[in-house]
Subunit: 354 residues, 4 copies
C-alpha cells in the first residue's frame, strides 16, 4: 500500500514539495529494451511548465528532468527508473504570510488537521508542482504504447465551449495557441476570457477533453479496475478536478436504451460510440474519449476572509505567482495520466490468456 | 495486484458469475471486536435484490448471505471474513441464444476478445449480480464507521430531476417509494416514466446523488488516493456508470474563483461547500456529496442488429428478466461502496501521526 | 495490502477457521484458457488430508474442494476462481478445555493479545487446516507451469537423515511409503521413529527438501522479490517451520569463494550448483533445491504447565487428534507453495522485455 | 505490484545502479511528527560503507544521504520521503572487462537472459551498493520503534563460531572490532581468518545473528505475513544470503515436542524461548533472534574459467575492489531490514482492534 504511487504493473511512486529541494519519482515495472526519446520527455515537461505564456503563472522553473537509473546507453534495462527535478526558483518568502493562515479552498486546513504539521511553502506536497513528476512518467509510458494516439485539449473555459464534436477537430492545431484549444475561433474567445479574468484578479474554471485513438481491444480489467474507473481515478487525482465523464457521460443518463446502444458492424466496430470505446470496463477498439472538469484556481488576488491555526478570523490576499486558469497547463498532465493508465493495462493484458 | 479486489487496508476480494454456483468474497483487514448486526447486512442485500417492485427485474433471488469465517460468537475476530451467496434462480436457458451472439453495448464482445473464452450465461462475471458482494462488504463497513451518515437517493430518471438541493430533502423518506427518491412528487413522476419506458420495451438512464454527513476531518490520502478519486473509482466500477462529479462538479468548471471559494468560519467549517467536503483530497468535516450518472440498461425488449463470434450480422431481442431502469436498485450499491471507501480511509488515518 | 493473500500477479486470498463452517479462497490473475485437471487437484488435497495413515492425525475430513467460479466448461475464463472446502468433521468439544487456556508454543496467547478475541476451537485461523486452501491453489498453479517438475520429500525425521544427495533419489518412489521419503531404507527408520514417538505421547520435528527441475531461465525479480526470498517467505508461512536454506545454505557460510563458485559450461549451465539454481534472485536454468526445517508439533499427549487468560497457572494435556510428526503431510504443501511462487514469476516474466 | 519496494504500510521503493549517477529511494507511509535524528542515519550509513577497515573493500564512497522531501523543520510531515545518495567514486573502467563476460556465481548471466540488456558496470542493479538505500530507510524506521533494541553481530566466519549463547554477549562491544563480533576472542580469530583469505585472493562466508529485545506483543500478521516470514524474506533479499533460521531453527527439526515447547510463566513470558519470540507468526514479547547465512563473495582474485555472451569459454580474474568477507559490512544492513519489518508491523498492529 503506497499512497504516493500510481499504477499496477507499471507503477510510478513520487515525492516532493513545491518549495523543497527537489521533486522526483521512481518508475517501476517498465520493460527492458525501449530506446528512450529524452527530447520527447523534456518536451512534455516544457508544455506543462510555468511561464510559457501570458495566461499562465509567471513562475519560472527550468523543470529539467535528470534520469538517475534504469536506462543504460539510451535503453531501458528493466530495473527501476529514478528521476529528479530540482526546484530552482522557489520564492518561498512569498508564502511566509501563509505560515499559519489557511487559504480558502486550499488543502492547508486539511493537511494540518490530518498530519498536525505542514510544509506551508507554496502548498508543499499539495501543490500541482507534483504533476511535473507525472508528466515525466507519462511521457515515458507514451513511448511504450506509441501506437495509441492520445490527444487532450481545452474544450471549455468558463462558459465558452467548443461547439463541435471532437471528430471535426484537427489535433495538430492544439499547440498553435496558448490556451491549447484546436478550434482557433473558440481559442481566441477563451484567451480573451482568461486575460479579462486575470486582470480582475480572479480565476476561472474549464474542461479538458481527451481522446485516445487507434486503441487495441482488450485493455482494462473488468471488475474493480475497469479502464474507465482507472482513467477516472487518474483524472480525479489531478489538482482542482471536480468531475469526470466518458462516452455519453451525464448526457447518457437522460437517454433511452434504444437510443444509447452502439450497434455492431460486422468487423466488431460500432456504428455509434456512446460507450466511449469501453464495454464492461474493457476497450473495444473504438475511440476512448472523456471529459474532465476543473474548478477555478483557489488563489485569487483580492482579499478574502479566512482563519488561522488558532481559529482566529483574518484576511488573506493571494501573493505569489498563480494561474488564472489551470486548464491550458493541465492538457499535457491529462495526456500523461492517460498514457500511464493505458500502458499499465497494455502490460497486464499480455498475460490474460495462456 | 488483484483485479477483483477493492480497498487498501480494508480490502474486499470477490468472485462469481451471474449463473454460476455462487458468488462471494473475502473481507480482509476488518478489525477485531465489532459486534456484527447481521440483520442490517441482510437488509441492505434485500434493498438491492431483484424482484422487489414492479419497476425492477422480476428475477427472484433470495440473496441470502452466509458468513463462513472471521466472526466468532457474533464478533469480528480480525481474521479474514469469507462469505457466500448461492445462486438459486438461474434461468440459464434464457441466455442460450447468447452463446455466440454479442449483445450491443454489453461486455460480450470485449470479454471474448480479451480472454478468448466467456461464460455467456447472464453476462457471467460482467453481470451486475456481482454488486451483491459489494453490498455485503459495504454493509459491514458501514458498521465500522457507524457515526457517519451515508444516504444515497435517485436524483433523476431520464429528464425528470429533483429540483431541490439535498439539504431540503428528508432522507428518511427515500425508502417510502419504489424509485428511492426522497421527494415524493418527483418520485411519482419518475415511477410513471419508468413504467412507460418498460411498457415500450425500452430502458432509461438516471442519476444518483450520495451524501455523507457527520464526517470526521482527515480522511483521504492527498496524492493518488484522494478521497474523491477513490470515491470516483468506486462509483465508476458500478455497472452502467458513465460519470462522476463531486461538490460543484461540472458546474464548477464555469465558475470564477471569487464565487467558488468556500470561506472559513472560525471553527474550521465553511460558509459554502462547493468543495463537497474535500480539500486537497482530504475530508474537511463538511458534508461530502457527489452525483453518479447511469446510462440506460443495454438489454432492451425490441429487436436490434448485432453480430456473432463469427462476425456475421444477426438480430437479437432481449429475453430474460431485466431492469427498465437500474437506478433504484443501485442506491444501496452506491451507499455500500461509499462505506467501503470511508471505512478504509478511516482505518488508514489512524496511523498518519505518531 | 492483504494479509491473507499470497502472490503478486497470481494471487490467492484465503479465509477459514479450523472448526468454522468452511475454509476457502479466491485465486486471482489466473490466465484464461487452461483446461483444468480437477482430479489432479483433488489428488493433491488427498495427499495432504488427515487420516491417511497410522503416522498422521486420525481426524477424518473428506476435504472435497468445490469450485464456484472462474471455470466454464472445464476451462479457466480469466475471472477470479472461488473455491470452498466445507468443514465436516469438527469435534469442537475436544477443544472446550482450551476456551481460555493458552497451549504452550501455540498461537493462543498471541492471538488473544493481538485481537482481544479468538476462535479457540482447534486453533481457529492459526490451524494448519488453512494449508488445504494453499494446496488447492498450488495444484492449479502446477498446471500452469506443468513443464517444471516440482518434487518435495521428507529428508529427515528427528536425527534420521537421508544420507544421499537428491540426484541419487528416485522421486517416483516418494509416495511408496507413508513418510514420503523416496529412500526406502531411511523411510523405514523414520516410520519406526514416528511410531515410537507417538506411543510416548510425544512429537518430533523433521526437514523436507524440495527440488524444481526443468526450470526456465529468468524467473524471479532481482531486488525485493528474489526467487529465493519469495520461496523462503512461502515456506516460512507454513505452520511449524523454523528455517529455510537453498543451494549451499548454511554450509555455504563455511566455504571459500574458490570452492563455492559455480563454473559455467559453454551452454550457460554450470558444473556445480551451489547457487541452487538462482543467481541474483533469478533462476539460471539449473535445478532449484532448498530445505525446510519443521519443529515438533506443539500439542503433546502428556501434561504440561501453562496459564489461562486470567494469568493463572494451570495444567494442560493434549486432546483432539494430532500429528506426531507434521512432515509427511507437509510434503504436498511445500510443493503447492513452490508451484504458486514459480507460476507467479512465470507470469511476471512474460512482460519484462518489450 | 512493485518489485523494487519493501514493506506494506511503511514502504520503501528504491532505484540505482552501482556505477550510475546515484542511488536512492522513497519512504512512503512514514507517520508525521517524528523529530529526525539525521546523525544517527548517517552513522548507520558509515557503518555499512566501504573502505572502513582493512578487511573490507577499499572502494571509497562518501555515501552521504540527502533528504529531498517529507521532512520539514526537522520533522516528518507524513508525505513521502525522497532521498538520494550520489555515486562519486565509480571506477567503471575496472569493469570494462566484464562487458560481455559472465562472472561465475554472479547475476550477469541471469540479468542478460531475463532482460536482454544489462548495465555491466560493477554489477549494475545487482550490486550490494543497493543496500545503502535500505540502511537509510532502516535507520529512519529504527527511530519509529526506538523502544525495541535491535542488535546484529557476526556470529561466524568460515568455521570460526562464537561459542556462547547471545545472552552472554555484550552488544555494546560489537563495534569495538572491525569484524563486528562482540566476543573479543572470537573476533580476533575471525579477523586473522579474513586477512589470511584475502591474502590468498580468496573470499569466505559467514553468519550473522540478530536479536530484537524489548519487543511489544502482537507484531506480525498470522497467515502470509507472519513476522518470521517477513523477516526471512527481508534477510533473503540481502545479497549473498543462502539461509535463514529463527528460534530453534534447523536444530529444532531434530527435537521432540516435550523438549521444544516453551512453558509459560504466569505473566505470559516463557521459561525457554525456542520459539524465538514468535508464536503463530505474532511476537509474544520474548526476544526475537535469528541467524542468517552468507556465502563467500563470488569475486575472487584468481583466474576462473567462464563464458561470454557469445557462449564462448574464456577466463576471468577479479579486478576492482571487493570484500574478502561480506559479513562485517552486512551487520548494519541486517539491523536496518529488521527495523523496517518491525516498524511496518508496529504500524499495522495499531488498527487490528476496534
Amino acid at each position: 500500500m503506497s499512497f504516493n504511487s500510481f499504477g499496477n504493473l507499471l507503477k510510478v511512486t513520487t515525492y516532493g514539495e513545491s518549495h523543497g529541494t527537489a521533486i522526483g519519482g521512481i518508475i517501476d515495472g517498465f520493460p527492458a529494451g525501449l530506446q528512450v526519446d529524452f527530447d520527447a520527455i523534456q518536451n512534455e515537461l516544457n508544455r506543462r511548465k510555468p511561464g510559457q505564456s501570458k495566461i499562465v503563472t509567471q513562475r519560472k522553473e527550468p523543470d529539467t528532468v535528470e534520469f538517475l537509473s534504469g536506462i543504460f546507453e539510451g535503453k531501458t534495462t528493466g530495473t527501476s527508473i529514478g528521476f529528479i527535478i530540482r526546484n530552482t526558483n522557489q520564492k518561498s518568502n512569498d508564502y511566509n504570510h501563509n505560515t499559519n493562515v489557511y487559504r480558502p479552498s486550499h488543502a492547508d486546513y486539511t493537511y494540518d488537521q490530518k498530519y498536525g504539521i505542514r510544509d506551508y511553502r507554496g502548498g508543499g506536497r499539495s501543490s500541482a508542482r507534483e504533476t511535473a513528476n507525472w508528466v515525466v512518467a507519462g511521457a515515458l509510458a507514451k513511448q511504450l504504447v506509441a501506437s495509441i494516439k492520445i490527444n487532450a485539449f481545452t474544450s471549455s473555459v468558463g462558459d465558452i465551449f467548443i461547439d463541435k464534436p471532437y471528430q471535426e477537430l484537427d489535433f495538430s492545431k492544439t499547440e498553435d495557441n496558448i490556451v491549447r484549444c484546436p478550434d482557433a475561433k473558440s481559442a481566441e474567445k477563451m484567451i480573451s476570457k482568461i486575460k479579462e479574468i486575470r486582470k480582475a484578479g480572479d480565476t476561472i474554471g474549464g474542461t479538458i477533453t481527451c481522446v485516445a485513438q487507434n486503441m487495441p481491444v482488450g485493455l482494462g480489467e473488468p471488475i474493480f479496475n475497469k479502464l474507465h474507473a482507472e482513467l477516472g481515478k487518474a483524472m480525479l487525482s489531478i489538482n482542482a478536478v471536480k468531475g469526470f465523464e466518458f462516452g455519453s457521460g451525464f448526457c447518457g443518463a437522460k437517454m433511452k436504451g434504444s437510443e444509447h446502444n452502439d450497434i455492431f458492424n460486422a468487423d466488431g466496430s460500432t456504428q455509434s460510440n456512446l460507450s466511449g470505446g469501453i464495454q464492461g470496463g474493457i476497450s473495444n477498439g473504438m475511440d476512448i474519449y472523456f471529459r474532465v472538469a476543473f474548478k477555478p484556481v483557489a488563489t485569487i488576488m483580492s482579499s478574502q476572509q479566512t482563519i488561522n491555526s488558532e481559529n482566529e478570523i483574518t484576511e488573506i490576499t493571494g501573493k505569489g505567482r498563480h494561474d488564472p486558469c489551470v486548464v491550458p497547463r493541465a492538457v499535457p498532465i491529462i495526456e500523461a495520466m492517460t498514457a500511464l493508465v493505458l500502458a499499465d493495462f497494455w502490460l497486464i493484458n499480455k498475460i490474460r490468456k495462456i
